[in-house]
C-alpha cells in the first residue's frame, strides 16, 4: 500500500508550524499506523533529515501516550481505539492522510506531533485521590462493595488520560477526564467521603488550566478509546448541586 502523508511539523512551542507532505510506499496491510510512521522516520534518517516526533510507548492501547488527529479524528475514525492500535488495513480506502497533534491551548505543542499534557497531572494533584496513607488501610474485605458499584467504578477508572476528549471538544473541555475520575471514587464507599470537595477542587483546577466547560456536544464519548460515557459528566454536575 502507498500513502501520501501531510504531517504537522513544528520546531517547538513558540515557533509556527505547517504541514509537510511525505510519501510512503510498499506498506504491508498488517503494519500498525505507528509502524508506518517508524518506516517514514527510517527513511528520513537515510536522507539525513530530522525525524517526525510523535508520542508512543506501550503500543497496546493502555498507557495513553499516543495521540494524533488523523484526517480530523482524534485516534483515527475507528471506534474505541487508540492510535497505536490502528492498522494500515483500516486505511485501505484512504490513501491521503492528514496527521496533526492534539489541538488545545492547555496542551501546548512540544514539537511536531507531541504535546504537553501536564495539566492533567495537575488536575489529579488537586484532588484525584483518596487521602489514605500507607499502612493505615483496613483489611480489604472489611468493607463490602456492591458488585454493580465496583463495576461502574471500574468503567470510569479505565480512563487512560490520553486527552482525546479535549482534542475533539469545541470548547477544549476536560470535563470527561475530570468527571471520570470523580465518578470512579464517588461509586466507592471509601472514596465517597471526599467526593464533593474533590469535585470542587478538580473542576477549579480544570478551569485554572484553561480548559473550557462542557456544553453537551458529546463528541468526547465518541472518540474516547475506553468508551467512557458522558453520563459521568451528568453525575459530576449533580454532585456539585447536591
Amino acid at each position: 500500500m502507498n500513502f501520501t502523508l501531510h504531517i504537522w511539523r513544528q520546531k517547538n512551542t513558540s515557533s509556527d508550524g505547517s504541514f509537510v507532505t511525505y510519501h510512503v510506499e510498499n506498506i504491508d496491510s498488517d503494519t500498525s499506523f505507528l509502524e508506518m510512521l517508524d518506516h517514514l522516520n527510517e527513511k528520513l534518517i537515510d536522507k539525513g533529515e530530522d525525524c517526525v516526533v510523535f508520542d508512543y510507548d506501550c503500543r497496546e492501547g493502555i498507557c495513553g501516550t499516543c495521540s494524533l488527529v488523523i484526517n480530523g479524528h482524534p485516534h483515527g475514525e475507528k471506534k474505541a481505539t487508540t492510535t497505536c492500535q490502528l492498522y494500515m488495513r483500516d486505511y485501505a480506502n484512504q490513501r491521503e492522510l492528514w496527521i496533526e497533534p492534539w489541538r488545545a491551548q492547555s496542551f501546548p505543542i512540544m514539537k511536531d506531533l507531541a504535546v504537553k499534557r501536564e495539566a492533567f497531572d495537575r488536575i489529579i494533584q488537586s484532588g484525584g485521590f483518596i487521602s489514605v496513607s500507607v499502612g493505615s488501610a483496613p483489611e480489604a474485605n472489611s468493607q463490602l462493595i456492591n458488585k454493580d458499584d465496583a463495576d461502574c467504578a471500574f468503567d470510569s477508572a479505565t480512563c487512560i488520560g490520553c486527552g482525546a476528549c479535549v482534542a475533539v471538544c469545541p470548547n477544549a473541555s476536560a470535563s470527561l477526564f475530570v468527571a471520570a475520575k470523580i465518578n470512579h471514587f464517588e461509586q466507592l464507599p471509601q472514596g465517597k467521603i471526599e467526593s464533593k470537595k474533590r469535585a470542587e477542587r478538580m473542576i477549579n483546577q480544570m478551569e485554572e488550566e484553561g480548559f473550557g466547560s462542557c456544553s453537551n456536544h458529546r463528541h468526547c464519548e465518541t472518540v474516547c478509546p475506553k468508551e467512557i460515557s458522558v453520563s459521568n459528566i451528568a453525575t459530576m454536575n449533580n454532585l456539585l448541586l447536591a
Partner: protein
C-alpha cells in the same frame, strides 16, 4: 563500596522481617525533612515509593521518561496480583505462596526475601482497596479471585484485564497527593543518563531533559532506581517501546553488580509475530489459560487448515497431555518451551516466518459453550477485543493464535536484603532488581513485588541507611558532579558524530535483538552463545563507527534517545550471553540444550550452580561473584508439574 554481603537476617523464617525491621534504625518525623532522596522511574515500585516516602516526610525528587508518571509500563500488566489471603479457603497460606514462588523460580532465589514478599502480599491488597482500586467482586460484595499459572489455589486479585493499570493509577494518585503537598518534586520527560558517586556513595544523578536536551545534575543523600526490566534488549518484546536498561546499566558500569542477566522470561501467550515491519509484540494475559485450551494439529498437513474444520481427534492438547496435573496452567517457562517444541516439529500454525509457522491455538470454544458468551465477555472481553484489533480475527469464532515473546526479566541489579546494590546508597526496586523471582517468575507476582518493594520494604531500609550515615552537603560544582556531566555530554557527542554515520538506532536494535533471540532466548547452547558473544562484540564496534543520529542534541530528539538506549542494550546483551554461557545447567527459563531431560524439562545442577551470578563491570571483561544460595527451610526438588 559495601561488602558483597546479602545481609540476610537469621532466626526463624517467619520472624525475620519483623526482627529485621526492629533492628533497622529510624529517623524521627521532625528530622525527615532534612533528607533528600532521588527516585528514578514511576512505575509501581517508583510511584508507591514516592508516595510512601513523601507521606513519611522526606524530600523526594522523582524523574520519569514518560510524559506523565501514570504512563509507566506497569500500566500494561493485565492479569492480576497475588496475595495469600486465602479468601477461597483452598489451603492458601503465606508459606504456600512462598513455596510456590521459590519453586516457580526453580530454586534460584533467596528464601528470606521471598518469605517477606509473601508476608507483605496481603497488605498490598488492603492498601490498594483503600486507594479505590476497583478489583473484581462477587455479587456478595466480597473480593473475587482467580487462579494463575504455577499454582493450585485461587489467590489472584484482578481488575478485569487491566490490573496493572488500576494498581498504577492507585499508586500514581497517592504520589500525586504528595506532589500537591510539596514533599515530592516530580519531573516528567527526563531521562537519567549517569549516576554521581562521591566517596563511594551514590549522591545524585545526571538527567537529560528530553524536550530541550538540557543536561542537569541533581544531588541528594541517596538514589533509588525503579527503572524496570530489559526485555527490550530482544527488540521485539511485550514491553513498552521506551523501556530500557540505561539507568541500570549506568549503575552497573559505576560498580553495581548485575545479577543473573540471562534469566529472562519468555511469555507463552502472546500474539504471534507477523512480519519485518513489526515494532513490538503484544501479550495476551496468562489468565486466558484458565479457561482457554491450548492445542496444535496432530498432523502437519492440517496446519494450514481452518482450525474449526480440524476434527477433535486430530487435535493435540499438548499441555494437557504432557502435564496432566497442571495442564494449561503450567508455569510460563514450561509452557513456552513446550510451545516452541511443537512449532519446531513443524506443527505450528499461522503465517510463515523464516520457513516456520510460529503459533499454536488457544481455544475458547468449549468454555463459550459451557459458560455462555456473555460470561466469557465479562471475564475476558477487553483481551478478546485487543486480539481482534491486532489480528483482524474474531476470537469468539476462531481460536486465537499464540506464540511466546520476551516479557519480563528476572535478572537485574544485585541487591541485598535491604534492596541496596553494591554501591552504597544506591537502591533498586521492582523489576530493576534481581531479588525475588529466581530463574522464572510466576504470573501475578511482578505487581506484588513492585508494590511490596515500594510501599513496605524500601521506605524502611532507605531510612535505616540515611539514619546510620553522615552526608556532607554536595554542591552542583563538586568535581565528581562535573565529571559525570562531562561523561554524559561526551557520550552524546559520540552518538551524534560517529565517524561513518550510516545506520539508524533501530537497525542496530533489530540486529542485537535478533542475535539474542536466537542464542539467548528459549533455547541456548554453548556454541551458539560463544558465537553470539563474538557477534555482539563486533556489533558494538560497528555501532560506534556507524550510528547515524539526525537532528540536534539540544532539541526533542527521539532518534538520539533510542541510540543511547541501544548502545546500552548491546553491552547488556553481551553480558546476558556471558552469563548464559557460565551457567552450565538448565533452570527455569534458562534452558541450555545440553542440560535438558528428554521430556524437555530443565535439569538443575544445585551442587555447582546453586548460586546467584553477580557480575562486576570491568574494562577487561565481566568478573563473576557468586552468592551461594543456602536453603535452610525448604528442600530444592525437581520441579514436577506432571
Amino acid at each position: 563500596m559495601q561488602k558483597f554481603n546479602p545481609n540476610v537476617p537469621t532466626g526463624p523464617l517467619e520472624g525475620r522481617w519483623e526482627k529485621h525491621k526492629f533492628d533497622l534504625a529510624l529517623i524521627a518525623p521532625q528530622n525527615r525533612k532534612k533528607y533528600n532522596i532521588i527516585v528514578i522511574g514511576t512505575g509501581l515500585a517508583g510511584a508507591s515509593l514516592c508516595a510512601t516516602l513523601g507521606e513519611a516526610g522526606y524530600n523526594v525528587q522523582s524523574f520519569c521518561y514518560n510524559d506523565s508518571p501514570r504512563r509507566a509500563h506497569s500500566i500494561a500488566a493485565q492479569g492480576g496480583v497475588n496475595a495469600s489471603k486465602n479468601y477461597q479457603n483452598d489451603g492458601d497460606s503465606t508459606w504456600r505462596l512462598f513455596y510456590d514462588t521459590i519453586k516457580g523460580g526453580d530454586f534460584r532465589a533467596r528464601e528470606s526475601n521471598i518469605y517477606r514478599l509473601a508476608q507483605l502480599s496481603c497488605n498490598i491488597i488492603d492498601q490498594a482497596v483503600s486507594q479505590g482500586v476497583p478489583f473484581a467482586r462477587e455479587y456478595s460484595g466480597y473480593l473475587a479471585n482467580r487462579s494463575f499459572g504455577g499454582t493450585q489455589v485461587s489467590r489472584t486479585f484482578y481488575a478485569r484485564g487491566q490490573t496493572g493499570q488500576q494498581l498504577l493509577l492507585g499508586a500514581y494518585s497517592s504520589m500525586s497527593k504528595e506532589i500537591a503537598s510539596g514533599k515530592v518534586k516530580h519531573t516528567s520527560r527526563s531521562e537519567m543518563l549517569e549516576i554521581i558517586i562521591i566517596d563511594g556513595k551514590a549522591r545524585g544523578v545526571v538527567v537529560r531533559d528530553l524536550i530541550t536536551g538540557e543536561i542537569s545534575s541533581h544531588v541528594a543523600d541517596c538514589v533509588v532506581m525503579c527503572t524496570g526490566g530489559y526485555s527490550n534488549a530482544y527488540f521485539l518484546s511485550t514491553n513498552a517501546k521506551g523501556c530500557n536498561t540505561s539507568a541500570t546499566w549506568r549503575a552497573h558500569k559505576n560498580g553495581a553488580y548485575f545479577a543473573n542477566p540471562s534469566f529472562t522470561q519468555i511469555h507463552p501467550t502472546c500474539v504471534p509475530p507477523t512480519g519485518d515491519s513489526q515494532s513490538k509484540l503484544t501479550l495476551m494475559s496468562e489468565s486466558l489459560r484458565n479457561d482457554g485450551r491450548i492445542w496444535a494439529p496432530k498432523n502437519i498437513e492440517d496446519c494450514d487448515k481452518n482450525p474449526n474444520e480440524i476434527l477433535e481427534e486430530n487435535r493435540d492438547y499438548f499441555l494437557e497431555r504432557m502435564y496432566p496435573a497442571f495442564a494449561n496452567l503450567v508455569p510460563r517457562d514450561i509452557a513456552s518451551r513446550a510451545l516452541k517444541g511443537i512449532c519446531d516439529e513443524g506443527r505450528g500454525v499461522g503465517s510463515i516466518i523464516n520457513d516456520q509457522r510460529l503459533g499454536v491455538y488457544l481455544d475458547f470454544s468449549s468454555v463459550i459453550e459451557k459458560m455462555g458468551i456473555d460470561k466469557v465477555k465479562e471475564k475476558y472481553g477487553n483481551l478478546f477485543d485487543m486480539y481482534k484489533s491486532i489480528t483482524g480475527e474474531n476470537p469468539y469464532e476462531v481460536p486465537m493464535k499464540i506464540y511466546p515473546a520476551p516479557h519480563y526479566t528476572m535478572g537485574g541489579l544485585w541487591v541485598d536484603y535491604n534492596l541496596m546494590t553494591t554501591i552504597d546508597g544506591l537502591f533498586a526496586c521492582g523489576e530493576a532488581n534481581f531479588s525475588d523471582h529466581g530463574a522464572n517468575r510466576l504470573g501475578a507476582s511482578a505487581l506484588m513485588q513492585g508494590l511490596a518493594d515500594g510501599y513496605f520494604i524500601a521506605p524502611q531500609t532507605v531510612a535505616n541507611y540515611l539514619a546510620r550515615g553522615t552526608f556532607e552537603k554536595v554542591s552542583n560544582d563538586h568535581p565528581e558532579v562535573i565529571a559525570s556531566i562531562d561523561a554524559v555530554k561526551s557520550r552524546i557527542d559520540k552518538l551524534m558524530n560517529a565517524p561513518m554515520p550510516e545506520h539508524s538506532p533501530d537497525y542496530f536494535h533489530r540486529k542485537v535483538g535478533g542475535i539474542l533471540w536466537a542464542a539467548c532466548g528459549m533455547a541456548r547452547d554453548k556454541n551458539a552463545l560463544e558465537e553470539a558473544v563474538k557477534s555482539i562484540e563486533k556489533l558494538k564496534s560497528d555501532f560506534w563507527k556507524s550510528i547515524k543520529v539526525t537532528g540536534s542534541d539540544t532539541d526533542f530528539n527521539q532518534t538520539l534517545e533510542k541510540a543511547g538506549r541501544v548502545a546500552d542494550f548491546i553491552e547488556l546483551g553481551h553480558l546476558m550471553c556471558v552469563d548464559a554461557l557460565d551457567r552450565e545447567e538448565s533452570c527455569g527459563a534458562h534452558a541450555r540444550l545440553e542440560y535438558l531431560a528428554e521430556s524437555g524439562d530443565a535439569m538443575r545442577d544445585d551442587e555447582n550452580y546453586g548460586y546467584v551470578a553477580a557480575w562486576e563491570f570491568n574494562e577487561n571483561g565481566p568478573e563473576l561473584h557468586k552468592e551461594e544460595l543456602n536453603y535452610e527451610f525448604i528442600k530444592p526438588t525437581y520441579r514436577d508439574y506432571k
